[in-house]
Chain length 411, copies 4
């Protein structure tokens, strides 16, 4: 494909495509084929499945309708690696993804290479079609989402192993090790509220659920300047926070009791010295009080906020604050790159929302019930994938994401 | 109690107290002790339990702290008839309420009579204390809520019996028989939106979750002039609405498949002539196309709206429309007194919300997760218990309430 | 009934019929309609259901095929009160028997009276037909089985009520109060074994599962002279018997852990003085060390036997011993009338077993898997219903029957 | 190992040890590390776990107490690869064995090599100790059991993959392909019964549950000369055998309905031509009517026998017949090497049974409840592992073993 090197838009798009795809493969580099095949719970997927599903997305939505003489790499993959797109046909049952020992990892990697080559061949046509360009971009954004899931799923898998293995060696450049404490003393940042606009309205990429940009009214409020820390959470634990129903939503309390939970996911106190440890992608580490607490459920975040005399922010409050207060400015620290931040907002359609047409339109709208919005981004979010209008969402019980807590209160 | 008849405020309050309490007893008049003892599912309670629990509320929150020389009617009732107030102590497990064959119904009725007599004796003191008056009023409002639940729970119990018995005889004055069709041809009522205030702000009674009154911004919208009818729903059924995942929220679809649902609760098509019937408190009745469809889950309501090219209203839209368009005005029919209307709004705290202090403060706030708001009131709502700021709420799966659907769309 | 002959065979059969039927009604005399309607678990049935089902048996198997101009008392009862006879048609789901508040108790009693009258009218014909006489006898034996179940089901229901009510007043002549300690010091009774015959071979009534009488070979063995007592069981509890997996069958241990069991059913140790109590039909009573322990599962009985260096008897051993050693003889005490005695024998067909033809043949054979045989009879077994060939059977988890333990060992 | 004698007892034992251990490794040779790590259901284990657990058995019961200066290969393996021996300490939860991606397969193979080397070094001592020799033999017999489980577990895993992959290539010498039809026309082989001895009484190896040899009495009976075939089973399916409750045990029927079963495990009828296929270790194959039907549950076997007017044999009948009628003799075909044969005998202790002392004594006795005995051996049983006293056992629901059916009847 020597003829491809003839100008910067094509080179740029291909470069970006290659960079995102390579990043996924870098993430699985420290893993064996065995690691890549296992599934620790129905909510998680094997790494191999992430590798294949993201490729299936390009094959199904880009190549199949647009490649001349399209033939599938393997017709069985249409069923095996479809996730939730009813519009595309049958699906392999989600809880059984860990049983797909065939195709082997090597064949999935060959699948990736084949699709990459065909996408590269299609790039000139992509450049000339807004539709195609948008589909490729959507595929890349979709793959970036799976990059984060791949890491959280692997972390959960390794945690299920009683020998607590590490994801990679000491030099692995991803994961919780990259988290740093806040730099300034904690405080409240007050915002005046009023009539504000939130949601995506510009020209860059955004998922359909971030649109349309729309007006809403906010009463004055304040956000904590940084995330709640492990040390603060330990005080909550030691004050009996997990034993006192008054702090908890009724449903959260019943869930806590049924699960027997007494601390965040990945906290561990070995019999013996009783010193708290935290499981990370580098294995068990001593709890560091200054670091933000991670892996909270919505229920735990809400209980802590109530105990602390505060509340969760709404997503509109969070987004509005993030716009006047960009990352790194004095005032609000850790907006992005540390931990997703639970909001009290149920995941719902924005006023005027319309999902995209066709199967890709299944992407976001049909999950808009019984989930809660998280804002910001985490240490596991790939570079360039964060923005202030981004709406992440999970059920109130989810703990295996890099989910933390920023407090809010009325001002 | 001849000394009680000395003036109108006391007479008025006592009259209201007596009227509400008597209404509860009228509701159980058509029922046997056996009917009153059974519990058809964990979400429902036996009628006897409703009778006792509403009385326990007055005994615990009014008499216990304010009656001189208070002694409980029966100390065991504190555990047996507490519902969810962790602040008050232990509770009998909810799914086992149907096993409390002792105390018998007659003893619960004696309990009611005893507490009524003691409340009547306390009435002069109640009149002189805002706190006490508010507690009595809260107890009455609470009892009215249970009046509706008592009816919906009995309806479900009778439905579980394969002989489909009727609640009472032909003259029973409560229940679905009272429902009437809309009077005008259907249409859309457009509302301009803008900055509006919603929530309770006046001096009359309201639950804590209706406050504070607060501002919000609404884009222009339209509401259907009446509720969706059985005839319209039948068209949805016949068009394969329950077989097509594209209409459904993903979680709703999985639930529908797992439950094997193909029509609303209480619809029944006997083998043979295949004519649809609907189970009512008067037994099975032929489906009447012009009547509003009842007993929908949130998932079904949402799927229908999507199929119809519309959406559910938000609770702010509903409340705002109900204020300029009071019941019975031309334009919006069936706002009150027919069926609760699902909104797309997750049940959450209003900006600035603070629950009441103490155990009564457990009333509403701790349920603010994974439930959806219904607005209006139903044919089973007691007289005087409806208002435009009222927030009813149930999980998305709930179908045994008188829950219907009014469509909305952007305007 | 003027045509009824007062000759003695007819009078005798009618007298027996009436006596058995009346005994059932005497058992429910201390109960309210509410008590009679509730069902505490899927394994149990409401007393009202027992009243109706035993009547349905006579109506279906005796009246329907043999009464001239038969018309059912109520056609709906065919579905409501069928238990497990697939050959007879549809059945109401077992776990929902407690929801049948209609027909009311009074109607079920009218049903009983009606069927009794019609059976009485049919008696002359019954006398002249061996088939009919056998069916009536089967119906009476069947009703006696339900008499015992009715008591155990009521006991379990009352136990589920946190106020621990008594079944009747102090003079109630049934139930655990009638149990007495053994009279002689405990010891082992040795039996020589060899080729023995077991099973029913005579002319009196027996269920099909007791036949045919057949030969089997027994090695020499010994049986304990009496049942294990509460005092002995308490020693097992205090020795950590419920905490040590080595005593337990693997499946029993997993079950014990999952259920969190630490003592037999109906044992209760109130917070405070820590003195053990035992729930009986007369309410909670202090544990009496000399009385036999009751309400054991197979798993518990087996674990105790292992701990005690003994084993459970086989059913052949038990029956053989009961034949040379009839009740009350010196040697083996408490064979009958105290507690059913778990054997290690899985419930299976005897060599040459053939179930009866038709729907009544569903009676016993189809339960011959994953259940264990209990021998003897209990304090709740109606008079005249016990014999040495009788085979009672329950799953290894069942604890709500009057099930106790007699140890055995090789001799 | 220069001191190792090349005299024949040592060479012989070492040769046998090596042969058994190598056979296990040959079984996993066609599998990838991914295949070896997955677990398709809680009843099954990953191949890697089988490889490690059988090695752990030698390390724990042979090396740990007898090797001078014993040090574990890896202390974590004690928890990871213990199966059910409570006496040895903690265990990894069985349903999560598929999550142990670490240690990787290569490390487990190194573990095997290390233990093999140390066992070889210990062989001279083993030869001089009856205890040690018995332990090594027990370890080899235990490993042979796991060889069969490894195959049945892999077969189930591959079946869960919608692309139905084959275990190996066409030349793989193990598994169902080796099954052959019976050679003679079917018939009944009559046996006179009487007082017979069954159970292990000789000097060769047997598991503890095969002892002691003991007497029992058998009525005359007949066994089918061969196993039920796929063609015969297809006739049962086509006659509505899976739709008619009269053929089934009550518990079996409820299970069949709940699971929606309509044919044996691994039968498959693709949409389209409707020709039955059977999944084998070589992938899907056309159903061959003359081959024995495999992968039956006890419930199915019992239902078929009832439908065919026959019954299951008892284990005493089976064993007695197998002794006068050794394999290959005219009369009884397919006793060994084709399919395990369900008996109607519940798995229980023989009269006089005593489990071995210590942790190895947990081997068999504690599973003696709610399981049924299978006799013979299957196409997946390793060479030399079958004998007429062998007692295999599984719950009535188990279908993933090579379990078939030989009919019996009274003679």
């Amino acid at each position: 494909m020597t003829n491809m090197d003839f100008g910067s838009p094509l080179t740029g798009l291909l470069h970006r495509y290659t960079a995102v795809r390579n990043h996924t493969e870098a993430l699985v580099a420290p893993l064996s084929a065995e690691d890549c095949g296992a599934q620790s719970m129905p909510d998680a997927s094997p790494a191999k499945w992430h590798l294949a599903h993201t490729t299936w997305f390009f094959e199904t939505f880009v190549l199949e309708p647009h490649e001349p003489m399209f033939a599938p790499f393997n017709p069985a993959f249409r069923v095996l690696f479809n996730s939730y797109y009813n519009g595309v046909g049958a699906r392999h049952p989600r809880p059984q993804r860990g049983l797909l020992t065939r195709p082997p990892l090597a064949e999935v990697q060959a699948y990736r290479a084949d699709v990459d080559q065909r996408i590269a061949r299609l790039m000139p046509a992509v450049l000339q079609s807004d539709t195609l360009r948008a589909l490729v971009e959507l595929g890349l954004q979709h793959e970036q989402q799976h990059q984060e899931l791949l890491l959280t799923d692997i972390k959960h898998l390794l945690w299920c192993n009683p020998i607590f293995p590490a994801y990679g060696d000491a030099t692995t450049p991803v994961g919780d090790p990259a988290i740093t404490p806040a730099t300034a003393p904690p405080g409240w940042v007050r915002l005046g509220g009023g009539l504000v606009d939130i949601g995506h309205g510009g020209t860059g990429f955004a998922f359909d659920n971030e649109s349309p940009r729309h007006r809403c009214y906010l009463a004055p409020y304040a956000l904590a300047s940084r995330l709640v820390t492990c040390g603060e959470w330990l005080a909550f634990v030691q004050a009996g926070g997990y034993q006192q129903p008054a702090h908890w939503l009724a449903e959260g309390w019943d869930w806590r009791v049924a699960q027997g939970l007494e601390h965040p996911l990945y906290w561990h106190r070995p019999v013996g010295d009783g010193l708290w440890q935290v499981f990370t992608l580098a294995g068990l580490q001593p709890l560091q009080a200054a670091l933000p607490v991670l892996h909270l459920s919505y229920y735990e975040a809400d209980a802590y906020a109530r105990w602390a005399g505060a509340r969760l922010p709404t997503e509109a409050e969070w987004e509005h604050a993030a716009q006047p207060a960009p990352t790194g400015s004095p005032g609000l620290e850790q907006l992005f790159g540390t931990a997703w931040q639970w909001t009290q907002s149920s995941y719902a359609a924005y006023p005027g929302f319309h999902p995209a047409e066709g199967a890709v339109g299944e992407y976001n709208g049909k999950f808009m019930v019984n989930q809660y919005v998280l804002r910001g981004s985490s240490c596991a979010t790939p570079p360039g994938h964060a923005r202030s209008t981004y709406r992440n969402f999970f059920p109130a019980t989810a703990r295996w994401q890099y989910s933390g807590l920023r407090l809010a209160r009325d001002a």
